[in-house]
Amino acid sequence: MTLGLHLPGDSVIHRLPVGWKIGCLLLASTGLFLVSDPAWLALALAGVAILVIVARIPPSVMARQMAPALVILAILVAVQAIFASGREALELGLRFGALLPLACLVTFTSRVSDMIEFIERITAPLARIGFDPAAVALALTLAIRFIPVLFQLMTEIRDAQRARGLERSPLAFFAPLLIRTLKMAHEVSEAIEARGDPAPPDGPAGRSRANRK
């Protein structure tokens, strides 16, 4: 599982600041929704293909990353073709066909830590109204980091239930998944605290935990 994370490289796109890349993605996606001429949309798609080549992202990696979204897109295009018109289906296909690899390109060429730093920076002014940018950034990081860990957990639980002949029991799957996820969440919070606790405000450590085992 690659999770669409950073692919190291030294292309021009890799070297661009992450804020620029996210800004361009926002502008491009807005632009793609303002344009409805299939010729312009096809041109945009070709432009994105050139960017992918410039970033030296292997086509196989890009295809693997986009595969689940492309299946959904194919269904949407088919529905549009049946219930609307061929032209609208073409517009939809080209628009999202350009947008999806562009979004993947941003994630492939940007380090998660740079993205998180960028989010922290742009949300910093919200600290005045009680928003904690560092905590939100940390939560986003953990969400990305723990997707493969949770998949591994689900596989382990599914295998264990199958070994016991309980593969059709949702309770036998979700109960241990919930318990182990909560236990892991507790361990992770403890580990973050032990590693220096960069998110929460200053204060004596562990005071809130004085009565915990």
Binding site: T141, E187, E190, A194, P204, R207
Partner: protein
């Protein structure tokens, strides 16, 4: 030096640790005990993850109750399951995580990351997704992420439990080379053969505190 003065700890009205009074001034200290004997609670008290319900824990003169952040800078903690300790998806990003509050210049940050990776021959994993590492490599990354903070003491809670023999040996070898004071909680008795001191817990109390051979013999007789 780490010092526990008349430390007791209770959870839900149940005593987990009773009257522990210790000075930990040797370089390699092992902690053993049956499941539920209080050894993991003991380990968590040493870097302020837990604050004792009675008594004081002092790390180089700092009280874990009032100087928690400074204590955690001085005492690194490696957990049993590295998956719970690795926060960022990419190896180099995870190593950089603990250094974030120091706001180091990029060049110094990279130099520290490179040095940490070189220590265990993991340079090629710099931009690798953490979830692609083997169990032993993950544990070495977890250890590196602690060592990069340059703590004076390192606590390890069952660091070899989830590892196969080859990875266990890699981690043991890594521990042997550390200049810091290390305190290891483990059921892996072989790990403690060359240690300076072994403390045995039973029912929340210290029942033996000696050189490895007599302490481990006491533990084995306790378990049989």
């Amino acid at each position: 030096m780490i010092e526990l003065r008349d430390v007791s700890h209770a959870f839900d009205g149940r005593m987990i640790l009773h009257d522990v009074h210790l000075r930990l001034d040797q370089r390699r200290i092992g902690v053993v005990g049956a499941n539920g004997s209080g050894k993991s609670t003991f380990a968590r008290l040493l870097n302020g993850l837990l604050v004792p319900t009675q008594g004081r824990v002092l790390v180089d003169g700092l009280d874990t109750r009032t100087d928690g952040k400074a204590v955690r800078r001085a005492v690194g903690f490696v957990f049993q399951n590295p998956d719970s300790q690795i926060v960022f998806p990419i190896v180099s990003e995870d190593l950089a995580f603990g250094l974030k509050p120091l706001r180091l210049p990029r060049a110094e940050l990279d130099a520290r990351i490179d040095a940490a990776l070189r220590r265990y021959g993991m340079e090629r994993y710099r931009d690798h997704p953490c979830h692609h590492l083997s169990g032993g490599e993950k544990q070495l990354l977890a250890l590196s992420s602690v060592l990069i903070m340059e703590p004076r003491h390192v606590i390890l809670d069952e660091p070899t439990t989830l590892l196969d023999l080859r990875n266990r040996n890699r981690v043991v070898e890594a521990l042997g080379d550390l200049p810091q004071r290390i305190i290891v909680v483990s059921h892996d008795l072989d790990l403690f053969r060359d240690f300076d001191r072994v403390i045995v817990f039973d029912g929340g109390r210290i029942v033996a505190d000696d050189d490895p051979a007599p302490a481990l013999a006491h533990y084995v007789s306790l378990m049989s």
